[in-house]
């Protein structure tokens, strides 16, 4: 096989990973702090794409500004979801929040169909259909923007978590909840930050990919499944694991498509996830169970 084709698939893999790595990061954050596998993040991703669309259409805001609309409003939605659903369930068995999270995902997706309709929606990219090409590899300018913006957001998240006081508080809470409480970290404040950050990332991620292809309210389904596979692959609650997992899964599935058929791409993602569970039940970078 030609090496430039392989490089093309590798770049495609990076892009595919970027469509769900931010959701994976958010899932991991929320799981770390509150032990909730928050599937609703997939629906919030979809809402982010629609907020971007409506902000551009009805408010006439430019695309780049509409990204911040998605980030901001979805961050609020994530917190409302926590307050209305997860917080009342705190202290009950874990399966309750899991089922609630799945329920919220489906409810929001169906509300989406009701409110936004089931027709395809498309958002115009400020880059139009322009492409870069180098070494016989092609990538649209918009996808390039998605990749750079995603890396930048991961970097900002890292800065927040490792270099700020409340970021440290959030990490402390995810490493040992009782100890963090005993040094004076307030769980309610940390929850607001975790849900705001995770949902904000999901929302802006949805808005980032909105111009790539026309979409419907079922947009978040595959994203949340792949993000979940990434988190399990990388180790539940490990942030670096979630990011690494997303890139390994995304690149593997895309490169594998070069050899087999694209029909198998999801099978490869989940195959990898199950495989790692056999070899390292705690995930690639997870703590021992």
């Amino acid at each position: 096989m030609n090496s430039s084709i392989l490089l093309q698939f590798f770049i495609n893999g990076i892009y595919i990973s970027c469509t769900y790595v931010l959701v994976a990061l958010g899932l991991s954050l929320i799981f770390g702090v509150l032990d909730i596998a928050d599937f609703a993040q997939g629906a919030l991703f979809m809402v982010g794409a629609y907020i971007c669309y409506y902000a551009m259409k009805f408010l006439g805001v430019p695309y780049f500004l509409s990204l911040s609309f998605s980030l901001f409003f979805v961050a609020i939605l994530g917190n409302i979801n926590n307050l209305l659903v997860y917080r009342p369930l705190r202290g009950t068995i874990g399966a309750n929040t899991l089922v609630a999270a799945l329920g919220i995902f489906i409810i929001v997706q169906n509300l989406g169909l009701l409110v936004f309709g089931s027709e395809y929606t498309s958002v115009e990219s400020p880059f139009g259909k322009a492409k870069f090409s180098f070494l016989h590899v092609f990538i649209t300018e918009h996808r390039t923007f998605v990749i750079f913006a995603t890396f930048f957001l991961i970097f900002l998240t890292w800065l927040f978590l490792y270099k700020t006081k409340w970021g440290q508080g959030l990490r402390a809470m995810s490493q040992n909840r009782e100890a963090a409480t005993l040094v004076g970290v307030n769980i309610d404040k940390v929850s607001i930050i975790a849900f705001g950050l995770a949902a904000g990332l999901a929302g802006v991620s949805g808005a980032l990919i909105a111009p790539v292809e026309p979409f419907t309210p079922t947009l978040g389904g595959e994203v949340i499944l792949k993000a979940f596979a990434s988190v399990v692959f990388g180790g539940m609650g490990s942030l670096i694991g979630a990011v690494t997992g997303a890139f390994i899964i995304g690149i593997t599935e895309t490169v594998a498509v070069a050899f087999i058929s694209s029909a198998y791409s999801s099978m490869i993602a989940f195959g990898l996830m199950i495989l790692i569970l056999f070899i390292r039940p705690q995930g690639l970078l997870g703590e021992k169970v």
Partner: protein, 234 residues
């Protein structure tokens, strides 16, 4: 008025009564120990003081302020630190980061406290950039104490600090606690190692099934037949 006053609190885990109508106090500058078998309710008393669990009734007064239903972070701010059972460090943070977490609510003078802790436990300074999870048991205990001290508490509560430590380290730990106490820190010490606890404490409470069955000065407790039989091996 005592520094800490617990007035007949009862604490439940769901329907199980873990602490039953318990009353105790700690005077400023005292080192008080809480003794009892596993499941006697010692840890629960500390958790109630820290605000991790709410007593169903009774009250907890610290420096004259009712903290019975106060949030844990407010309780830390008032000057109570809790060095929990099994250390409970932040394993994926560096030693220094763990210590800084102890000062989470403080704004000023943190550097000075850090230096003081490094002078108490020089090994923590040597290992400041190592992950807490990579420390030995003794070093982890020093880190847990250091982290608790970083909040500049007036009352420091220890939950089974000797657990899992080699006998020579247990002695060293006891003298560290005594030392801190002599520097003016009030201490409430929960221990299974009764001999060690008695060797450094002023007063003690004996807990059985969530109730105080005996409380006295350590000298008197050591002479008590029941205590000798049940806790000091005859």
């Amino acid at each position: 008025m005592a520094l800490l006053e617990i007035k007949s609190i009862s604490v439940f885990y769901n329907k199980i009564k873990a602490v039953d109508n318990l009353t105790l106090f700690v005077e400023k500058g005292e080192l008080v120990t809480l003794i009892g078998a596993n499941g006697a309710g010692k840890t629960t008393v500390l958790r109630a003081i820290s605000g991790l669990i709410r007593p169903r009734n009774g009250s907890i007064i610290f420096k004259g302020i009712d903290i019975t239903r106060m949030r844990p972070d407010k309780i830390v701010q008032l000057g109570i630190a809790h060095c929990p059972e099994e250390r409970k460090l932040f394993p994926r943070m560096k030693v220094k980061e763990n210590l800084m977490m102890g000062a989470f609510l403080r704004k000023e003078g943190v550097g000075k406290t850090l230096e003081w802790i490094y002078s108490l436990f020089p090994v923590l300074k040597e290992r400041e950039n190592q992950l807490a999870g990579s420390l030995s048991g003794g070093e982890q205990q020093m880190l847990a104490i250091g982290r608790a001290l970083m909040s500049q508490p007036e009352l420091l509560m220890f939950d089974e600090p000797s657990l899992g430590l080699a006998p020579n380290l247990v002695k060293k730990l006891a003298s560290t606690i005594k030392n801190l106490n002599q520097q003016g820190l009030s201490v409430l010490l929960v221990e299974q190692n009764v001999e060690i606890a008695f060797s450094i404490s002023n007063r003690g409470y004996i807990l059985e099934n969530g109730k105080v069955v005996l409380s006295d000065s350590v000298e008197e407790l050591k002479e008590n037949d029941m205590v000798r039989k049940a806790y000091l091996g005859g």
